[in-house]
Amino acid sequence: MGLEDLVDSLGQNVLTTTVGKVIGWGRGNSVWPAQFGLACCAIEMISTATAGVDIARFGSEAMRASPRQADLMIVSGRVSQKMAPILRTIYDQMPEPKWVISMGACASTGGVFNNYALLQGVDKVVPVDVYIPGCPPRPEDLLNALMILQERIKAQGIVTR
């Protein structure tokens, strides 16, 4: 990307730090998840979007149906052999910068099921930023993961990965 290469070549200066902070603040506070609800964790993800545990407070209420409009993929649920290529396709369709939260034990490591039918962890096909343990994790756990991710996004600023 032209702008980011230019910025890299300028090194550390007010452009990259202060502007970077502003951009990081903007990106971090409006992380739009792509709906990728697969199984039981999806119900807890929907629960996080509802009034009791409101994810809209963190700017993530707009769960986009189209991956091209999203920057966070929350893989919530078990990924089967048939679903893995589709998961990768959806991940590839998301524009940069993008992040992945692997929600729940099945998405992180295969969970309760250690067998032929499931991917033992979604990090076998996509790079994951935050893992959430639990089966399913509480809605507050998902919020915690989102907050950890937000810290990381704000710290990243404008520097390319």
Binding site: Q35, F36, G37, L38, A39, C40, A42, I43, E44, I46, S47, T50, A51, G52, A65, P67, G77, R78, S80, Q81, K82, M83, P85, I86, T89, I90, V112, F113, N114, N115, Y116, A117, L118, C135, P136, R138
Partner: protein
């Protein structure tokens, strides 16, 4: 004309290439598996003539978890954990089917307090499952506030689940031999408060939807499933009760003490999506009635069957009794063995008949566990309900079938 599957194999739709009503060709579109309105990872290959649906072919398997194979590798008591996760909107009801099947093969009967607690957990789960259905169906048809209201009540039910078992969703509370532990006084407080307020909340949902002209326009006359077709397809649950047939396993083949409770089977002759909506609302009211009766008449006593060969002894006994230590050791290393034989037990879940078939070869692991899934069978009715409707109605029809893909694919 064939379309490419994700694996590169062709999937041929035989009707494409035919002429549509206005002289054009039929269009084949792919609906899912990543779709906000398919209630999970269901893929539909739809042939369209303009806006009208001419053929619907569901492609499943995107959530296949190998639960049945997994359970062959786990011991009998470990298998309870897997049963929670196939129909993930009603975990205790799945647990109940498995527990009843194992108990029938073992030849034990749980005490009455355990039966009543099982009924309480089943009805709470039925409520939570219908609430999720109502919330997600509402938001798919545009009624966004219904989601918020329904999940507020569901959160209360999750709090009760957490109080009684420590888990919000996958409680594994109902186990072969009884239940996990007795209910605490705080559980009964929460339940009493819930039962006072829930009828008012159901009235709220009805206020929002039942006479709402948009809801009615989108559900009345949509997704017609004639009673004969429902029987032929093997539909159960609200799919068949919404077509006027009063078939509810809790009444016709009662289990776990349901014959002692006074409730009605909710039916409606409409045969369309609106009828099924009314059936589920009525079922929620009946569930509240059953819960009130169960709490009133809750008998005292133990909550587990008193068989040391099946359930571990209480921890205090381990300090003094050698047999208790041996039982504890055998149960937690090898596990108990179920006598050879096979049995099928069906229970009524939010979707219909969910059953568990167990074949035992006498060892400490099952030979075969098969789950009869209500969603898998109800999904067959999708094509018949959707013919000649518009694409937007397809969303309403998938919603009314209330399929849970974990149950379809297991």
């Amino acid at each position: 004309m064939s379309i490419e599957d994700t694996t590169g194999q062709g999937v041929t739709i035989t009707q494409s290439g035919q002429q549509g009503a206005f002289g054009g060709e039929l269009l084949t579109i792919n609906f899912g598996p990543h779709h906000p309105s398919t209630h999970g990872v269901l893929r539909l290959i739809v042939d369209l003539d303009g806006e009208k649906v001419k053929r619907v072919k569901p492609v499943i398997g995107y959530l296949h978890t190998g639960i049945e194979k997994q359970m062959e590798a786990l011991r009998w008591q470990q298998g309870v954990v897997c049963t929670d996760r196939h129909d993930y909107l009603s975990p205790p009801i799945n647990n109940l089917a498995y527990a009843l099947a194992v108990e029938r093969l073992m030849g034990v009967e749980v005490p009455p307090r355990a039966q009543a607690l099982r009924v309480i957990m089943s009805e709470l789960t039925r409520l939570s499952s219908h609430l999720v259905w109502l919330g997600t169906s509402g938001i798919e048809l545009g009624a966004m506030s219904v989601l918020m209201y329904c999940f507020r009540e569901r959160d209360t039910i999750m709090d009760m689940n957490e109080e009684i078992s420590g888990f919000r969703m996958h409680t594994s509370y109902i186990r072969p031999g009884g239940v996990m532990a007795d209910a605490t006084p705080r559980f009964f407080d929460l339940l009493a408060k819930f039962l006072r307020e829930m009828p008012g909340h159901i009235d709220e949902y009805e206020d929002l939807l039942t006479m709402n002209p948009i809801w009615r326009a989108r559900t009345i006359g949509i997704g017609r499933l004639a009673p004969e077709v429902a029987k032929v397809v093997g539909a159960s649950g609200p799919m068949i009760r919404g077509s006027g047939i009063a078939w509810d396993l809790r009444k016709v083949m009662p289990y776990s003490g349901y014959e002692n409770y006074d409730f009605e089977v909710a039916t409606n002759d409409g045969c369309d999506c609106y009828a099924r909506y009314l059936v589920r609302i009525q079922e929620m009211r009946e569930s509240v009635k059953i819960l009130a009766q169960a709490v009133d008449r809750l008998p005292d006593g133990p909550v587990n069957v008193d068989d040391r060969k099946m359930l571990p002894p209480p921890r205090e006994e381990l300090e003094t009794s050698m047999e208790a230590v041996i039982h504890h050791f055998k149960l937690f290393t090898e596990g108990y063995s179920v006598p050879p034989g096979d049995v099928y037990v069906a229970v009524e879940s939010g979707r219909g008949e969910n059953g568990c078939y167990i074949s035992s070869d006498g060892t400490h692991k099952p030979r075969r566990v098969k789950f009869r899934s209500a969603s898998f069978v109800n999904l067959q009715a999708l094509e018949r309900m959707a013919l000649d409707h518009m694409v937007a109605d397809l969303v309403a029809i998938i919603g009314t079938a209330d399929t849970v893909l974990g149950d379809v694919d297991r």
